[in-house]
């Protein structure tokens, strides 16, 4: 199956999109200017024809961010995955390669799977030791205003971060499948959205530290009262987040979030990633 292709490389010293091939049903939109013209960055929006991923769709593309370039991959709105027909599974595959001193920022809106949808996505990132990657991967419970809460049939998201010699740095596959031992909603309790944020590389060191401190502050407030306190006796926190270091010398940070509202995660992302404006010209998730 032929794949889409994106290449961002330096042309006359500026990060430039030199190759842009999209394959139906995916389309790339590349605005000429995002934010300040001083910033050296290329923003790419992915959209799907029909406004969402239809049962059985298969989308794949390669993305190369050459040495010292900065590229942003994002969406215009939540990626909707429509219901599965005849148990077909839709798939999306991204193979990205980030060069030396380069930065790739992947900041999509969340995936929203409709009732009975089946969806699988794989994102593989190959990095040099001084590459940087900001990856946000998240999902909502579905069209919860229609009462669809974790009503999809199958969702699998695989994210792999490897060094150029093939050494695995970060491997994560999250699988949510309706099954005999309990609906997905049992595992999610009342939380309606979950997110994973990966911060890796020299360009993101400051954000890593700030995020660790902020998450610790937010969560310590949740736990500072002993469990038999009369304040908030039986209430789960609306928002739960935790940070972990990973990789040699703790070079990467992964943040996991569960929230009762999608808005709270947008808010969190907006706040934590605000300082990215300096690198990418505009604040993510504004």
């Amino acid at each position: 199956m032929e794949r889409g292709k994106l290449i961002v490389e330096k042309v006359e010293g500026k990060s430039t999109l030199t190759r842009c091939l999209s394959k139906y049903p995916m389309k790339f939109i590349v605005p000429k200017k995002v934010g300040s013209s001083q910033t050296d960055v290329v923003w790419i929006y992915t959209i799907t024809y029909g406004g969402g991923i239809v049962s059985g769709d298969s989308i794949a593309f390669d993305f190369t961010v050459a040495d010292s370039c900065i590229a942003v991959l994002t969406t215009q709105s939540s990626t909707k995955v429509y219901k599965s027909i005849a148990s077909k599974c839709s798939q999306q595959l991204l193979e990205a390669s980030i060069g030396r001193d380069a930065l790739l920022v992947v900041i999509p809106d969340p995936v929203t799977c409709f009732s009975t949808a089946r969806y699988s996505q794989t994102q593989n990132f190959t990095l040099a030791t001084d590459s940087s990657l900001l990856l946000v991967d998240w999902i909502t419970s579905g069209r919860h205003e229609r009462g669809e809460k974790w009503a999809f049939s199958y969702y699998k998201s695989t994210n792999r971060i490897l060094l150029q010699d093939g050494e695995p740095l970060f491997l994560d596959t999250t699988l949510l499948e309706q099954e005999t031992h309990g609906a997905i909603s049992d595992r999610m309790k009342d939380y309606q959205a979950i997110a994973m944020i990966v911060l890796l590389g020299p360009k993101l060191q400051q954000i890593q530290k700030q995020t660790e401190e902020d998450v610790k502050k937010i969560m310590s407030q949740q736990f500072s009262f002993p469990s038999n306190s009369s304040s908030k006796p039986d209430m789960k926190p609306d928002f739960v987040a935790s940070c972990s270091r990973f990789g040699p010398k703790g070079m990467g940070v992964v943040v996991r979030v569960a929230s009762m509202t999608t808005e709270a995660i947008y808010s969190f992302l907006q706040h934590q990633l605000a300082s990215m404006e300096e690198l990418v010209g505009a604040p993510p998730y504004r």
């Binding site: 695995p168 736990f223 209430m235 926190p237 270091r245 990973f246 996991r256």
Partner: protein, 243 residues
């Protein structure tokens, strides 16, 4: 008469070959084995302090979710080292699991338990000298993280257990340890804990059957909420457990 004698001798030999194995199996699954499993709550302490688990019903559900996640994420690693209990396989799977345990709390718990198990097994099962040599080489080279699941599979494999038994045994010790943590967290009394363990056993059996014998490429986590909450362990105001 001679024929019968031969049959009896063969029978006796077979039985005597499996007896030491049976006693080793029981010892490995006994919570008295000093592997430090009692220091870990599998995120239960954080789940309690965030009010995600408050009743014994919540606890039962929690145990089942942890078992499901252990099945989906860790059984492939157990299976692989049980079938190939050698240093090369151990090293490869240990590194792979280290990249997959992205939750720092569970990653540290895994290496602590794995190191302890390797140390105990090398001392206890002296009839398997390669345990001691493998451990020694790994310690001096600094190459191994000693993650629990691959080490567990390796020890069982070297003791001659089959893959199915080993994978179920791992699910058993996981269930045993969370329920034990629950009693120390006063979520359930010792008798209630024993009743709960028996109630969950058929679920553990079917989860084992569902997730066993898969390749490590298929390893995945199935309870992201659990992972998120367990990651909060270091934010707890006061804690009894390491994880």
């Amino acid at each position: 008469m001679e024929g019968l004698g031969d049959a009896n001798e063969i029978n006796a030999r077979c039985l005597s070959a499996s007896f030491p194995q049976l006693w080793s199996q029981w010892q490995l699954l006994d919570s008295i084995l000093p592997t430090g499993g009692f220091a870990h709550s599998f995120g239960l302490e954080a789940a309690m302090q965030s009010r995600l688990v408050t009743t014994t019903d919540d606890l039962k559900t929690y145990v089942i979710h942890v078992l499901e996640n252990a099945g989906s994420l860790l059984l492939p690693f157990i299976c692989a080292t049980t079938i190939s209990p050698d240093a090369q396989t151990l090293r490869r799977l240990d590194r792979l699991l280290n990249a997959m345990l992205t939750n720092e709390v569970s990653r540290k718990a895994s290496t602590a338990q794995g190191s302890a198990l390797m140390r105990v097994a090398a001392s206890v099962f002296s009839e398997i000298p390669c345990l001691k040599t493998m451990r020694g080489e790994a310690l001096s080279s600094g190459e191994l993280y000693f993650h629990h699941a691959p080490v567990f599979g390796l020890v069982c494999g070297l003791l001659g257990f089959d893959a199915e038994t080993t994978q179920k045994a791992y699910m058993f010790v996981t269930m045993r340890d969370i329920i034990s943590a629950a009693t120390r967290l006063n979520l359930v009394g010792p008798l209630g804990a024993a009743v709960l363990q028996h109630q969950v056993a058929p679920v553990a059996e079917s989860l084992s059957t569902k997730w066993m014998n898969r390749s490590v490429d298929e390893a995945c986590q199935t309870c992201p909420l659990l992972d998120t909450v367990q990651g909060c362990h270091s934010y707890l105001f006061s804690r009894l457990f390491c994880s």
